[in-house]
Symmetry: D2
Subunit: 383 residues, 4 copies
């Protein structure tokens, strides 16, 4: 695929022309060729869809670099299901050039989202000094009423619209200024603070993570993107920071329900960060250990397949007989295990360095050896 | 993963050392880290496994560049299931340095194959002037008896071992010298010629393809590799030329059964080449067309997912209302179809430029719009 | 380098904060880390700098997708020296949201250009039905006076400002509508048409090229970019379409002088397109043929180094003894030449498929074998 | 360029054929197309060539995986000037299959080296328990006399041939077993130990480095490659570990002279490791700092170009006013310096994290701002 089809892209449509017929033809060709999506490989959990979500993005309507529909094009290309447009209310450096109310960037994005089947959330960033810091209000009906100077009144008005409210990048200006403070406590007690953005772009905030754990708040990873996003293929370590939401279906109401129910995990660099009750089934869904195909009295050779986007680092087996396996995203390794690692019930002790349940704490669990499945009896295509 | 772990790789094991304990530890680490496999994404067909096979490779024992176990490492890394070692009987430029009978390269390869779960076939290349050309005998018990000057006697001895015999790279020295000739006819009539290698490395032989079609012989694609193989990630256009075999299970007897039954397709550059009765279900398994997510009176926007390794080029819809979709391997496009493309029975007319049923002939078929499936009720891992 | 430093990028600066001190520190770090440039390797010609220029770009102020400073960031990253901002006067789909006069996108871009040492030209695109089509006016003082409906008056006003005027993408709506017409003749005769954009994005217009040759007009290649540009490393075949300008120094007056003097070549896909008197010395500067390092009575082995961004395809030697060499950008090949290719004067006949002097015409010339140079006596760093 | 031209590669030549004419033609095409080299960008120093050398490689004749000419193909492809073939004398796991004396792998390699202009050294690895460990003897006339059990006698015989002798991978079996011991002392005092391989594949040995510094021995980086080498493009962090030798010319005698004179630096991952008197001029040659192109009262914006293969990490300026610059290999950054960094003499304080003069010690030096050079008056091609 051409790197510079972007020139062709929607170019023709945008050049002024008297010929509507030509525009329609060009458009047909364009949609088919230019909009290629790479799915993000994190498996669904039993009974739930794993939706890939970014709840924090900016456009030229505040201090971002792009027109709002670009955020939809990027989301599609990168395999996301959901994004929120969250331009600042208070910080709009282009306001002398751009004339629009606070809902306008959402409107532009939503028109494009319909074509590309992206779910888009109307949101905004409430932007104050740190502390208390920045907050996102998501699922708003109308952003304009939030443009007021009274800090707590903003949250009352957001709550009146049943917004989901997040505390953004707690320690972005240092740990001292990023502590859970009086404002956070007051909002939390008023049920006006619903999640903590523990990963923002290429930063992770252990203190914010600890605060979330202590209060039972869901954790989010977000891009907070301002510039045009890279179109290089994402890798396990270089990808958009985002949130996996385990939703009952692919719809905005289901995303909202899952957020309020706390079914979220942050995907940050080469890690999934979240509660053990979500990470343990996710690890089980990501790793397929096949029965040994070769064995001697000491060792068993097994194929282990990594079904997700992390470059997995696993320690397999009981203390004293551990084999370390580094399995790149989507790859399969042959791993030589000690026969002591194979227990009678078909399970193997596993420590997964990429699965983070709390600051400095990795998931320890047991994985089952897979039962072989027969070849499918019907074609595998299907949604 | 480090590009140069190959230095570490099996290095430690190969340095001379008095310490067996150290060797064992090193070995454990090595197998886990160095042997990463990328699965080749061609879906199984109903009731059959799609095995990825290369029936033509060389080692230093004839005119190749590598020790035989390297061919197994490469096969594992590249996602193959089956390879044949087919060193020349008659052409062995290293024979002053290497002292061994004709079975030796297979033996070395087979020892490694056990660890990496690769199925390896004992074979050889019968190497004569062109015409009559070169032939592979596969599934031999003992290659040594085939080392005789009488051309037809070689085939008798191969057949006595129930070999599967292929005619290799028909036109590699030009179309004139590569014609189906008297030798081919005599062997075919004696049931001593079972397939035609229509693709060899980066060459495709339309005449050989036509010869195979006319006589109902299965077609093969093979690498005929002599040099060490590239370890760059394969792409739709740059990959090992190989054969997809549709076998009842992943075993050598099943491969043999499928070969004699003619269930093969060549994967050559960005094409699958084979008979329509195999290519049509393969296309159906590779393409997932989702129900429209957006529609107006003229157009319907649908997501189409490409589940295979080809960069697909599809023409969708009836004459006069065709949309062309270029969907890279493993990617999803939004395609804007004419509403006229959507028929009442949920099928769409499709011309697939990458699926070649005969020289200059591409597959035309109908594809069904997929029925949405619910989220899985159990973990997706499994073989 | 991190793919997603873009999140960090200028992010911190753009978040609202009360702390000026922190902003300054963040800014220092950001400029150092985020703005990496890949130089474009086309050698200078004797006495002249080879400047890499894009004379046709759009921003959100007309129908582009990005804020104007993004075009400067992209130009720096991609190794350009010069860009023109050329938003449409007549076609501004965001005009209900953006309130600004026609000079505003240039002003925003110019502020950023100072920091990144990019030369930026104030320009505009005159956008009419085709025919007569679209034209760029470059090096304007004030764009606003050109916002008038009288077609020829626009050119008078541009000429009054000493603009350099180009005819854009002649056949973008088909060969018939893209012919050199009455308007072109009238402008040309009035000395109000100075160049033809023969390459635009991924299109090349042979008819436009022929028109330029016949009238002695310089040729341009431009991106006409609307979307955010890819940040993937450019390759010989996938790069921004641009113009090489051979200027006496790296300054806007020197660019202007070179344009009016016709010292331009278009770099389009894997080709340089321009007049022979420029292409011949450019080829000589791009190819270094070393003296044979090994020879027998028939053949000579020589190293040939490709010093430019094209994947070169050369045919070397006299008729009947030609060796074809495919030398990737920046690489060196060992080429085995016939001894007949080595003439007494140290020159070798060469046909260069990538150097296009006219539609369907490639450069044929002679290249000299290089004289070895001693190791440098001083450090090679220097501008 | 096709990834799988390797199939074509020398394939045709190796298939048995009666037609010599065809072989010659195939061969001509092959040499031209298949053998592409990427030069390694480390600049020459004043009066010296920077030769890229690997003094430690294996082939199938000991415990390597490839036929010896493959090491030459790899060296050419990767941009090396010099390699040594150093198969083990004592450890030859393929000896039941391969029948040859110890000089044979060199002979095979040397025939290929002539065509590809690679300098190849006849060497061997003396392979004993650790301690005393492994040693390479380089520049031998005849390896066979070294095949004797008496440890010290081997070195006498190597010295009789004027060999250059290296102590290999000191701590490869742990720091304890890798200490400088009695054997090293005895050899060193007898002038039979001339260098220490402080980097081997992906290992670095600080203790060995310290031993070399204390005794004034030159340091080497080597691959010790056994497997086929990757053909992926090398990066700053993933490349063949090698030695830069600063030689008076590109010849084996000059390499030998430079080795005995100690003019070597190891290139290991993203670092150059060696003595300060070599690293300081190398850094000066690698970094081009241009005069500020933009300035205000606090800051100066300068372009800094990285002319080498390291991703440089520089700290520029005096204490309290340091700017950190991460400049990828071959790239240019705009760096915003404090005006305090600009001293009257045009030099800037610089700490270069990639230049290692001793374990845990990085180079600190001053770099000069470059003086602009005029455009060249002659074509830049030349050796």
């Amino acid at each position: 695929m051409a790197r510079f089809t972007i020139y062709r892209g929607f170019l023709s449509m945008r050049r002024h022309s008297g010929s509507v017929a030509i525009l329609v033809i060009a458009c047909l060709a364009v949609v088919s060729e230019a909009q290629t999506r790479r799915e993000i490989r994190f498996p669904d959990l039993p009974g739930q869809r794993t939706l890939k979500c970014d709840f924090h993005t900016h456009t030229a309507f505040s201090d971002g670099d792009v027109w709002p529909h670009v955020r939809i094009n990027e989301a599609w290309r990168e395999g996301l299901d959901v994004i929120a447009i969250t331009d600042h209310i208070e910080y709009r450096p282009h306001k002398n050039d751009i004339n629009a109310d606070h809902n306008r960037p959402y409107e532009i994005a939503a028109a494009r989202a319909k074509e590309l089947n992206i779910l888009v959330i109307k949101g905004t960033e409430i932007t104050r000094d740190t502390p208390p810091g920045h907050f996102n209000a998501l699922f708003l009906e109308d952003i304009n009423p939030l443009d007021t100077k009274d800090f707590y009144e903003v949250f009352n008005r957001a709550t009146a619209q049943k917004a989901f409210i997040t505390w953004n990048h707690p320690s972005w200006l240092g740990v001292e200024r990023g502590k859970w403070g009086e404002a956070q406590t007051r909002l939390f007690e008023a049920k006006q603070l619903h999640a903590v953005e523990i990963c923002n772009g290429d930063e992770y905030y252990p203190d914010g993570h600890q605060s979330a754990i202590e209060r039972g708040l869901p954790v989010l990873g977000c891009s907070d993107v301002h510039r045009p996003l890279s179109d290089r293929p994402a890798t396990a370590t270089e990808h958009r920071t985002m949130t996996l939401v385990f939703a009952k279906e692919r719809s905005l109401p289901a995303v909202r329900e899952a957020l309020f129910a706390g079914r979220t995990v942050a995907w940050y660099k080469n890690q999934l960060i979240g509660p053990e009750n979500l990470l343990a089934p996710m690890l089980a869904a990501c790793v397929e250990i096949r029965p040994p195909h070769h064995q001697n009295k000491d060792s068993a050779w097994v194929e282990i397949r990594n079904l997700c986007e992390l470059d997995l680092t696993l320690e397999l087996g009981p203390a004293g007989s551990i084999t370390r396996a580094n399995i790149p995203a989507g790859a399969t390794n042959v791993v030589r295990l000690s026969v002591k690692a194979l227990s009678a019930d078909g399970s193997i002790a596993c420590k997964a360095s990429n699965f983070i349940t709390a600051p400095n704490t990795v998931l320890q669990t047991r994985l089952m050896i897979a039962t072989p499945k027969p070849a499918p009896t019907t074609s595998p295509a299907g949604i």
